[in-house]
């Protein structure tokens, strides 16, 4: 059984919070391109992508881990 299903509402709120940060990472990409441009935007996109990736794998391993 997934860990997310054990904790009920509190756990779900945490997951939604993390998902919201992931969405923010995505939304910030065109915004920093428009506002900052140049290298700041180029590497900023890469950095936002890494934060997004870390959160995705954190949610997977912490709350939705699958055992065979």
């Amino acid at each position: 059984m997934y860990d997310s299903l054990k904790g009920g509402g509190t756990t779900l709120r945490k997951i939604y919070g993390l998902l919201a940060i992931m969405v923010l990472c995505f939304i910030l990409v065109p915004i920093i391109a428009y506002l900052l441009g140049g290298w700041y935007a180029y590497w900023g996109h890469g950095l936002l992508a890494i934060v997004f990736a870390l959160l995705a794998v954190f949610i997977r391993t912490r709350y939705y881990w699958e055992e065979d």
Binding site: G8, F26, P30, Y42, F52, A56, E66
Partner: protein
């Protein structure tokens, strides 16, 4: 004084040929060795379900980094400046992380006989029609994708050996055929792993080296900021390259994804979906063993390091633009144009050693991708179409038919590249990527987690995706007034999503008992 665009002598050709020969030899030997260890063809394809995180991670990197990422990105940076970043894929790690999160469940389907993505769909939907249709869609989309690989290889070969482009194209096709005949294609995870490591190391090395070669990041940014867009053929415009959008004049200019923020948003969603949507990517998990949480994080680290390689290749394009301005867009560089930037930069910045290693890495990416795709297309015909329709066909017949198909699927994209080479290969390949993202992200990726998905939802999505593919702004889209790449891509991806969910909800899913085996951990409802 800025270094000139380098002239290439015979010693360069020798270095490049030696590096490519070394790469091919190692790949083929690895392929042979692993084939010897495998008891049968199926085991060779996906192993014995014992592939660890390191090999899976780098194999995923290798299958993701095609000629587009390891080579074409420099062309994007060179031709379009900062606005080329949207197709360079600065956020591609987001997509590969999603693939990592979603794709792990693929291994469940191996226990039920699936060895390929269409076979996984047959198991999921209990439908041979879905299997066949998915196989057909993959053939169409992968042919387009293969054209870009040919151009990448032929461009490298042309510049480094001074053999004319069309002769180089033929040479590379022969190399692909040899590579396939001797069995060293990407089916073996170990070969892919080796290639993934190679691509990562060389991509990072090239990117860092050219940063210094061009005078540093500030110098590059300053120079790009002062330049304007150059059309293929060398016509200079007044449109500045220093912004993240490039407002090219309509209607033709609208086919460029970075033309405005609608195109930008579409390109971002493409990168979010496509790593999972690429069948050759998600298939990497078919051979993965059960892994621990710590190993999962290790795979992510590999994906972050390997997945950042495209950014370094993009830098090679920016560096070339800052030093040589729009010179490579002149007609004397037909049909390579800006795509030749990475090769010239590697020669100028690192001499024979770096240029040879870079050439080998482009071959690693392109040969591996094209060989893998040709193999997928050939098995789509024999396994997903013929064997699907006529299950009694003998294995011997299927084997020979597969070999025949290999030649056919090498020839089709070759002919395409021969008659109509794409000017900027990554831009061309993005068309196929959008379709693969829109169709297979949902049909394959989401269907592994959403019980309510039905075969009719999958079938409708595939058909819709293929129809929209034909309506690409540079294909038949302009006939119906669909000139804008961003609108087209959003219409394809989100239209596919809408059709997938609505048709699925309106039709009957596979029975709960049958789905139980595939969804065993999602039964409990949240209270």
């Amino acid at each position: 004084m800025a270094p000139p665009i380098p002239e290439v002598g015979p010693e360069m050709a020798g270095g490049v040929i030696a590096a490519i020969a070394a790469f091919l030899t190692i790949s083929i030997l690895l392929g042979f060795f692993m084939r010897k260890k495998a008891k049968n063809f199926e085991e060779w394809l996906v192993g014995r379900g014992d592939i660890g995180p390191l090999v899976t991670g780098f194999a995923l990197v290798a299958s993701y980094l095609s000629g587009w990422a390891i080579f074409g990105n420099a062309g994007l940076g060179y031709a379009y400046g900062w606005s080329g970043s949207w197709l360079i894929g600065t956020i591609c790690v987001m997509g590969t992380a999603i693939c990592l999160v979603i794709g792990y469940r693929m291994r469940r389907y191996v226990a039920f006989g699936a060895r390929t993505v269409p076979e996984m769909l047959r198991v999921r939907f209990e439908s041979r029609t879905v299997q066949a249709l998915a196989g057909l869609a993959m053939i169409i989309l992968l042919i387009v994708y293969s054209v870009g690989q040919y151009k990448a290889m032929a461009t490298v070969w042309t510049i480094t050996t001074n053999i004319p482009f069309y002769g180089s194209l033929l040479t590379t096709a022969i190399l692909v055929l040899i590579y396939l005949i001797v069995g060293g294609y990407t089916g073996t995870q170990w070969v892919s792993c080796f290639q993934g490591i190679l691509l990562t190391i060389i991509g990072w090395t090239l990117g860092i080296a050219v940063l210094f070669w061009a005078g540093g990041p500030a110098q590059i940014a300053g120079s790009i900021g002062n330049q304007t867009f150059t059309y293929l053929g060398g016509n200079q415009t007044e449109i500045p390259l220093g912004n993240y959008t490039l407002p090219l004049p309509p209607p033709k200019g609208l086919a460029f994804p970075g033309v405005d923020y609608i195109g930008v948003i579409a390109a971002m969603f493409m990168f979010l979906f496509m790593a999972t949507g690429f069948p050759h990517n998600i298939a990497r998990f078919l051979g993965t063993r059960k892994i621990t949480k710590r190993e999962y994080w290790m795979m992510l680290l590999i994906i972050i390091v390997g997945g950042s390689t495209p950014l370094w290749i993009g830098i090679a394009g920016f560096a070339a633009r800052s030093v040589w301005e729009g010179a490579l867009m002149a007609s004397e560089y037909y049909p390579m144009y800006g795509d030749s930037a990475a090769v010239y930069v590697s020669i100028s910045a690192g001499g024979i050693p770096l240029a040879s290693l870079f050439a080998a890495s482009v071959f690693a990416a392109s040969v591996a991708t094209i060989a893998g795709m040709v193999m997928i297309m050939a098995t789509n015909i024999t396994r997903d179409l013929i064997h699907n329709a006529y299950p009694k066909t003998s294995p011997k017949k299927l084997f020979w038919l597969t070999k025949l198909m290999l030649t056919l699927f090498i020839a089709i994209p070759l002919w395409w590249t021969f008659t109509s080479p794409p000017p900027i290969l990554s831009e061309f390949m993005a068309g196929s990527a959008v379709a693969q993202a829109g169709i297979f992200f949902f049909v394959v990726g989401v269907s592994m987690y959403w019980k309510r998905a039905t075969k009719w939802g999958a079938i409708a999505t595939i058909i819709y995706g293929l129809i929209l593919t034909i309506l690409h702004p540079n294909a038949y889209g302009k006939v119906v007034g669909l000139h804008h790449w961003g609108c087209w891509a959003l219409l394809l991806m989100f239209g596919a999503a809408l059709i997938y969910f609505s048709v699925s909800l309106a039709t009957k899913p596979v029975s709960e008992e049958k789905l139980e085996k595939l969804f065993s951990q999602t039964r409990r409802k949240i209270k």
